[in-house]
Amino acid sequence: MKPKFLVGGLLILAAVAYLIFSSTRASAERFITVQEMEAEGPSIVGKSLRLTGAVVGDTIQYDPNTLTLTFEVAHAPADYEITEEQGGLAEVLHQAVIDPNREHVKVIYVGVKPDLLRNEAQAIMTGKLDANGVFHADELLLKCPTRYEEAAPDQTSS
């Protein structure tokens, strides 16, 4: 193998490593639960997050004129093992919504109201927390675990 191939190969390697590194830095989002977010305090305001929680059905409000959707999510554990211990995702989400002592956070999302947004759905939201403790979601991903065993592509709205 001639040196020029080695140099060429190393250059490509370096370029790809740089691409991956810089893209990761630019778009990494911390995956976080409501409880973890509350525990962080004001330091987390303005950072890119992926927040997960259980949709509280009574709080869903939608203004079709401004396409503004507001609702609250209650804290639900996101860890797979904990979820399984507590009886599965559907049960965990149900408990999260009926428990009045859970941490809640208000979410604002501007856009089309997703079909899957309903009580006790699992919401995974990309966005930022503002200084007033309201989460502004740019993207909303919903999962309704009770109904389908598999292959239910949840909705993406962005």
Binding site: S23, T24, A28, R30, Y148, E149, E150, A152, Q155
Partner: protein
């Protein structure tokens, strides 16, 4: 009855597979043709056995046997029969049976070929396929069986465990217990009730499974030590077919997302999409680099690594889609099979790599790569780009797990990560696609390469400049379109050059010359057609990614929204029930104008499914070569039906994506069209012209 029967037959198939595996190993060790023949016959028997088992599963599905939990979970009475059948591969357990069914079919087909001088491969091909079949059968027999049933005690109470979830098993857990029959099943997710969903998963699976065959031959070559390029020639068409199915599956998935998911896109960099995309990347790299081995005797280690990676990624892809390891738009349930999949991937990968290391010295290159601009060097570069995209994808998918391991925090990366990291790589691939076919084998310089490409390069630059002044000032898009033009011009130039030469030499008319040129060098010109199709698909991707515009608003009747040159005016809305199908339809009608000229009507719809309490948003789409006007009905005021909310996208050029896909399949068809079975006969040296064209 059919549940026990199907399970029993599946178990029998498992035993026969194990026998085949043992007999093949023993036969190969003792060089006993009888034992190998016995292994082959056993392998041939597994296919009808799994087919019978699958048939009993389909029987249970079609006849509403909801006591079988799999049937309960994926079908309901309101589904038409053809959709019920598709539930076979719609649900997890069934899809694993489907996998085993396909693989045993493919293995049977491959063992039936004339082996002649390749007979030494046969036992080891059977071994690899039998291990894979046995793995999938053991999953459906012992972990996720589609034949498990619900049970009730004498009082008719559903049996459940301590935590309240129902107990399921194939056979009655105790005496005096009878199957529990729910009144109706839960039904397939309405989003999946679409023709795209009928064909998308089986095509992906066909692609996944076909890649097992070249892998099996590669392993056979490593074990037998017959490490020339025979295994590659034997499996060339399998590889192309696998690639065809996988590509087709990916495109159909995109089309399905565009038609029913209602977010105006076709690809979301979702982990499950990436899971299917990763083996496609290594498979594409493999398709290219085997040509280098055939032509120049180079990259032998590399090809082995690529096919081993492809196999692992195929299993990994099945694992990602079938376990809860990653949260995804494709919300597959968490299940017990994750660790088993992972163990199997680890085991097969390490075993394959160990074999490769053992044979490493036998796989030395026959020549040296000399010039950086030679065809083989550019092919190697193309391979590196595909692998780089793979690394980006793998990194993105695994990043949450990696970061959790090291920092304790789960950090995810989304579509912006993939778009940013892969765009320069895809652009480089386009550039190589243009240049590489014109570089010479062995030795090539800037001068020789420049001489053959400069005309097309100038023409493509002119296209870029023209676009900049007339169409868009988006520099990234202009560069992209310039590269696309470069690929198309060079490839057309190649067709032109070949046709002209033939026309002169053979005195044929232009069309005959073109047809014969392509027909005699199918692999090469089929490949060129695929390159053109990729460039055309790139037009669509560039269009929608760079220029998509959207607007949304709530309209009273006769009010309108403007977007790009379009005006969309809301006319009327109707809502009605179809109780037979269990659906409520809400359909809006809008008038579409472009620059004030009336073009027609669109009717976006919302279908509400009662059984699953779920909406499906069907866009009204007006599709032209220039752009798609994609109108979604979002909401309406039910009391008066007076106002409705719409979201509207204009997706420029996206149609070229689907047009490119059609050309792509045409190209693969040409490249994969059988010659007079050149693989079965030993290569004869009687006609040298035939040999060179076949190997090109």
């Amino acid at each position: 009855m059919f549940a026990e029967f199907g399970y029993g037959i599946l178990f029998l198939a498992f035993l026969v597979t194990l026998y085949s595996l043992g007999a093949a190993i023993y036969g190969a060790q003792t060089k006993s043709t009888q034992w190998v023949e016995s292994a082959r016959r056993a392998m041939l028997l597994t296919f009808p056995l799994i087919a019978i088992s699958a048939a009993s599963l389909i029987y249970l599905i079609v006849n509403n046997h909801y006591e079988v939990s799999f049937v309960y979970e994926v079908t309901s009475k309101s589904m038409p029969t053809y959709l019920k059948v598709t539930a076979w591969w719609g649900g997890q357990a069934g899809s694993l049976v489907f996998w085993a069914f396909l693989l045993s079919g493919f293995t049977s087909a491959v063992t039936l070929r004339k082996w002649n001088r390749d007979i030494e491969f046969l036992p080891w091909v059977i071994v690899v396929c039998a291990i894979t079949v046995a793995f999938f059968l053991s999953l459906v027999l012992f972990y996720e069986t589609p034949f498990a049933r619900y049970w009730q005690d004498a009082s008719g109470k559903l049996l459940s465990d301590a935590s309240g979830s129902p107990i399921t098993s194939v056979f009655a857990p105790a005496s005096g217990i009878t199957p529990f029959l729910p009144a109706d099943g839960r039904g397939l997710n309405p989003l999946l009730r679409h023709p795209g969903m009928v064909f998308h998963p089986p095509l992906l699976y066909l692609g996944f499974v076909s890649f097992v065959i070249p892998y099996a031959f590669a392993i056979a070559a490593l074990i037998t030590g017959r490490t020339d390029d025979r295994w590659i020639r034997l499996t060339r068409r399998w590889t192309l077919v696998a690639w065809l199915f996988l590509s087709f599956g990916l495109v159909l998935g995109g089309r399905w997302a565009y038609d029913v998911l209602g977010w105006g896109g076709y690809w979301g960099w979702d982990p499950v999409e990436i899971a299917a995309f990763m083996p496609w990347l290594t498979g594409t790299a493999f398709l290219h680099s085997v040509m280098i081995q055939e032509k120049r005797g180079l990259l032998k280690h590399w090809n082995m690594i690529l096919i081993i990676l492809t196999y692992s990624l195929v299993i990994f892809g099945t694992f990602l889609t079938r376990s809860g390891v990653l949260s995804s738009v494709h919300a597959f349930a968490e299940s017990a099979i994750g660790p088993i999949f992972f163990t199997y991937i680890g085991f097969s990968f390490i075993a394959s790599i160990a074999l490769l290391i053992k044979r490493w010295p036998d796989l030395q290159a026959e020549t040296e790569m000399k010039s950086m601009l030679s065809r083989e060097a550019l092919f190697l570069f193309n391979n590196l780009l595909f692998i780089s995209i793979l690394v980006v994808c793998f990194w993105g998918v695994m990043f949450p797990l990696i970061s959790e391991l090291f920092t304790g925090q789960k950090v995810t990366v989304g579509p912006p990560f993939y778009e940013r990291a892969t765009t320069p790589l895809f652009a480089s691939l386009l550039f190589l696609m243009a240049v590489a076919p014109l570089s010479a084998w062995g030795h090539s310089t800037i001068q020789t390469l420049g001489r053959s490409t400069w005309k097309s390069a100038v023409a493509a630059s002119l296209v870029g400049i023209a676009l900049f002044f007339t169409y868009t000032q988006n520099i990234g898009a202009v560069i992209g379109f310039t590269l696309v033009a470069f690929v198309i011009f060079i490839t057309l130039q190649e067709f032109w050059r070949g046709t002209r030469a033939r026309q002169r030499a053979q005195r044929e008319n232009w069309f005959v010359a073109l047809a014969r040129l392509t027909g005699r060098n199918r692999r090469r010109y089929g490949g060129y057609i695929i390159h053109i199709s990729m460039a055309i698909m790139a037009i669509g991707i560039l269009g929608i990614e760079s220029f998509q515009s959207e607007t949304q608003g709530t309209l009273a009747k006769d009010q309108a929204l403007n977007i790009a040159d379009y005006t969309v005016q809301y006319k009327e809305l109707a809502t009605w029930d179809d109780t037979g199908a269990g659906v409520n339809y809400t359909r809006a009608v809008v008038d579409v104008y472009k620059n004030g000229i009336y073009l027609g009507q669109l009717s976006p719809r919302i279908d509400y499914y009662f059984d699953s309490q779920q909406n499906m948003t069907i866009p009204g789409n007006r599709s032209t070569l220039r752009d798609d006007l994609y109108v979604l009905l979002v909401d309406w005021q039910p009391v008066s039906n007076m106002s409705a909310t719409f979201k509207i996208y204009v997706n420029p050029l996206v149609n070229w994506l689907w047009i490119g896909a059609l050309i792509f399949f045409f190209g693969i068809g040409i490249a994969a069209w059988p010659d007079k079975d050149p693989e079965a006969e030993p290569v004869r040296v009687t006609r040298s012209s035939k040999q060179t064209s076949a190997a090109d």
